[in-house]
């Protein structure tokens, strides 16, 4: 049996729970374990109830777990809120002041072990001991985090760390959750989804990003800003999302592979711009990190409620592609794919993620930089002597794209209907020719659709269909079902538009029961499948309380 321990640290914002979580994650990764870190926080800077969850395992985990093995409670509220989630063996670690004498509670004398401002070090020492991590590794992590900034505090921290560790040796049963079997995996990258998207954007050749801050997407732009100077990227925080999208389109028109990052409400403001990119045939990558709506909704929680919105955003008809990554690896890969698709088809392309994927961390092997093929624009600027026409009608619908500013040709782009040369027209025959030309690009896009991933053998009794970040929990649920002897499979879409029924209809049709698992209240993806294929799934498992799916959540709701 693979080891699988779920640790949740809870308290108020500002109590240092993130520090504990980060220290612990570092050590676990260095010791060769797989981790999945998820954070639950309220939309405020201080106070409120916040959690930092580390799921550690000897196997790759893509989903959080609802049940808790070790609950580190920095306040009483954490105990009240989460006690019910404790597993049979589960333990609460807390200050003896908050502790009851329940058997599941380890009340440590936090006040004796260290001053309140260093309770995170106390908790870290206790946790390290319970997980059986070597004390020198714990100290190295502390040194790595604060040694540079505050070297003077190191001796005090070390003393507290040792004291707490020893207290646990003496007072906590030593075989509760001792981890073993970590594999040396070399140096790994510790990323969340947004980090991976930013790295994918850099590897994909992004040169321009404009944004207006909005959770959960802001950190993509912040990552790019950090690396902007060394990577030659221009990033600008604009006055609003309308400016962001129009600025990115202007930059892309002038030759910079460009992106915007936003979330539901901000994306709503960008919608006219999306249509502009479609009409002017300007490449644009749009990252939409979903959070629960409508309106401001739950700003710091997760949902998959904007699929239909993104599919239909923008007035008029124009082709688009929508990718929905499931993992860090696919965030990185699909961001590059999206940039290339957008450049090749000169149309807006979307990356649809969500708060869960954006904010959850894992450690993964470094990406191979040699393998990248970044987008380049304007590499062939000379068409010869004929007058350049930006919208030359072609069979594929794709017109040769030159850039403005180069001698011998002029580039004219228009949001009005236009002639081939880009100038405004109300000639209705030209109109029809241009609509047809733009929509012909869809055929090319359809030829490049990434097929959904099918994990199963032959025809099954139960097929779980999902898209985007729901892959992890669904896979875990399928694994449990299989252990129970149920013949089940998973079908996962990482590209949700266009859909090519021939790629998946057989899987749907041959399963006895098909259940669509998605993070919204109206089963949007199931509806899309039905619209495109006529196939109606037998049932849904939906979640829209703002929390990510877990395997247990799915299993409890399967119509069995």
């Amino acid at each position: 049996m693979p080891q699988d321990v779920n640790i949740v640290i809870g308290g108020e914002a500002g109590q240092g729970l993130v520090t504990i979580g980060q220290l612990l994650s570092k050590v676990l990764v260095r010791a060769g374990y797989e981790i999945l870190v998820t954070q639950g926080y309220q939309s405020r800077i201080r106070g409120g109830h916040n959690t930092f969850a580390v799921r550690v395992s000897t196997e790759r985990r893509l989903a959080p777990r609802g049940s808790i093995d070790i609950l580190v409670a920095l306040n009483r509220e954490t105990i009240d809120l989460h006690r019910e989630q404790l597993t049979e063996k589960g333990r609460i670690i807390t200050d003896s002041g908050f502790a009851s004498d329940a058997a599941d509670t380890i009340g440590a004398p936090f006040t004796d072990l260290g001053p309140e401002r260093l309770w995170n070090t106390v908790a870290f020492g206790l946790l390290g001991n319970i997980l059986g991590l070597p004390p020198d590794m714990l100290f190295q992590a502390v040194e790595g985090m604060i040694g540079k900034k505050h070297p003077e505090t190191l001796p005090e921290n070390k003393e507290i760390l040792d004291k707490s560790y020893q207290w646990a040796t003496a007072h906590v049963p030593q075989d509760l959750f001792t981890m073993s079997g970590g594999q040396d995996q070399g140096d790994r990258l510790m990323l969340n989804g947004n980090d991976a998207i930013a790295l994918g954007a850099l590897a994909g050749g992004v040169r321009f990003c404009s944004f207006y801050p909005m959770t959960p997407s802001t950190s993509i732009a912040l990552n790019l800003i950090t690396h902007a100077d060394v990577m030659g990227v221009v990033v600008e925080q604009t006055e609003d999302e309308i400016a962001a999208v129009n600025m990115a389109i202007g930059a892309s028109f002038a030759g910079a592979p460009s992106m915007v990052v936003t979330s539901g409400g901000g994306f709503a403001l960008m919608v006219e711009g999306i249509s502009l990119a479609g009409m002017t045939e300007t490449p644009l990558l749009v990252v939409v990190g979903q959070r629960p709506g409508p309106a401001t909704g739950l700003p710091t929680r997760t949902e998959q409620g904007d699929l239909e919105f993104v599919l239909h955003a923008g007035h008029g008809e124009f082709p688009r592609a929508v990718y929905a990554p499931a993992t860090l690896e696919s965030c990185y890969r699909l961001t590059q794919t999206a940039l290339q698709t957008s450049e090749r088809y000169q149309t807006p392309v979307f990356l649809l993620t969500d708060q869960f994927l954006a904010d959850s961390y894992r450690a993964i092997p470094p990406f191979d930089v040699e393998k990248i093929s970044p987008v380049r624009t304007g590499t062939d600027q000379h068409l010869g002597p004929q007058r350049y026409k930006r919208y030359t009608v072609t069979e594929s619908g794709i017109s040769p794209r030159l850039l403005p500013g180069v001698p011998d040709h002029l580039v004219v782009a228009d949001s009005d209907e236009h002639y081939e040369d880009g100038h405004i027209t109300e000639d209705l025959e030209v109109r029809v020719a241009m609509v047809d030309k733009r929509l012909r690009k869809l055929q090319g896009l359809q030829g490049e659709v990434l097929p959904p991933g099918y994990d199963g053998e032959g025809s099954v009794d139960l097929l779980l269909v999902c898209w985007g970040s729901t892959l992890g929990p669904v896979k875990e649920a399928v694994a449990v079902l299989r252990q129970q002897g149920r013949n089940s499979a998973c079908l996962h879409f990482e590209q949700v538009w266009p859909l090519i029924p021939a790629q998946f209809l057989d899987f749907l049709a041959s399963a006895k029961k098909v259940v669509c698992v998605e993070g919204n209240a109206t089963a949007q993806f199931a509806g899309l499948i039905r619209r495109e294929t006529g196939f109606a799934v037998s049932a849904h498992v939906l979640r829209y309380d703002g929390l990510p799916f877990t395997a247990r959540y799915i299993l409890d709701r399967l119509p069995i």
Binding site: N246, M247, G250, A251, A413
Partner: protein
């Protein structure tokens, strides 16, 4: 050398007698006098009668959305700082729909020019009040007269310390062409608000009206004196001053991006070694 002929002659969709004709001619004249060739120029417009201007001369053109010429123009300039970028649109587009972008662009101060065809009415949508319409201006949409006080773009720009602020008039072609040329040559965001008669929908601010109200600032007016500039900018009524009202030198926004010192972004290759280092930072 550039000539007027190189900028071409096109049929337009404007009403005969419209002030836009004068502005178009002045623009060609200004570009020639700046020694610019059509391929070096990018005209970015929004939507409206004024915003059609880029279609009527030879240049690179990005004719975007109503109100959004400025973000697109700034994006293009940031992607390729070698382009001479001119954002051009009507008063409704620049000051109404795009008002927030107008303020933000003045604050950023990229090296670009803003030409506003200020006819004090919505032309393309057939005569509703615009942000610069006189209070009381009667239209079908404002049958009791426009209730809001007019926006004074020149005063706002001077107050914000924009780097170049001028007002011209479509009826004084040479004077206007000279203002446009100065604006294009100016290093920084340069606003030229252009009084423009709309013969179809603005029967108040006519050619005759502008002749009676406009006057040209003389040689001895110093546009670098802020107090005087503010007073002049606020003068808008019986008498309307034309000329460069305020100018100053400020750091360029694009100079803050080291990468742009190496020229257009599309010419720069991705540095794999740098990317590898960036990734190592996440270990």
């Amino acid at each position: 050398m550039a000539t007027i002929d190189e900028y071409g002659k096109y049929e337009t969709a404007w009403c005969p007698g419209c002030g836009n004709f004068g502005i178009l001619n002045a623009l060609k004249q200004a570009l020639v006098s700046c020694g610019l060739l059509p391929h070096q120029v990018l005209l970015v417009s929004g939507i409206g009668q004024a915003a059609k201007t880029p279609h009527y001369l030879n240049a690179n053109v990005f004719n975007g959305l109503h109100g959004r010429s400025l973000p697109a123009a700034q994006g293009a300039k940031l992607a390729n700082p070698e382009l001479t970028v001119i954002a051009q649109s009507g008063d409704g587009c620049m000051y109404g729909e795009g008002g927030n972008h107008f303020l933000a662009a003045l604050r950023r101060n990229l090296d670009l020019t803003i030409l506003v065809h200020d006819n004090r009415v919505y032309g393309l949508t057939k005569g509703q009040a615009s942000p610069t319409s006189e209070q009381g201006f009667v239209t079908k949409a404002q049958p009791h007269g426009a209730a809001s006080e007019p926006f004074n773009p020149v005063a706002v720009a001077v107050t914000m310390g924009a780097s170049f602020v001028a007002r011209g008039y479509a009826g004084f072609l040479d004077h206007l062409a000279d203002l446009m040329a100065q604006a294009v040559k100016h290093r920084g965001t340069a606003l030229v608000d252009i009084m423009q008669p709309c013969v179809s929908f603005n029967k108040i601010n006519t050619y005759k009206w502008y002749k009676e109200h406009c006057y040209q600032l003389t040689e001895d007016y110093g546009p670098t004196d802020r107090d005087q500039a503010l007073r002049t900018a606020l003068e808008f009524g019986e008498r309307i001053p034309l000329g460069v009202i305020w100018k100053t030198e400020k750091p360029l926004f694009e100079d803050r991006f080291p990468v742009l010192k190496q020229g257009p972004l599309f010419k720069q290759e991705l540095n794999k070694e740098a990317l590898r280092k960036v990734m190592t930072g996440y270990m």
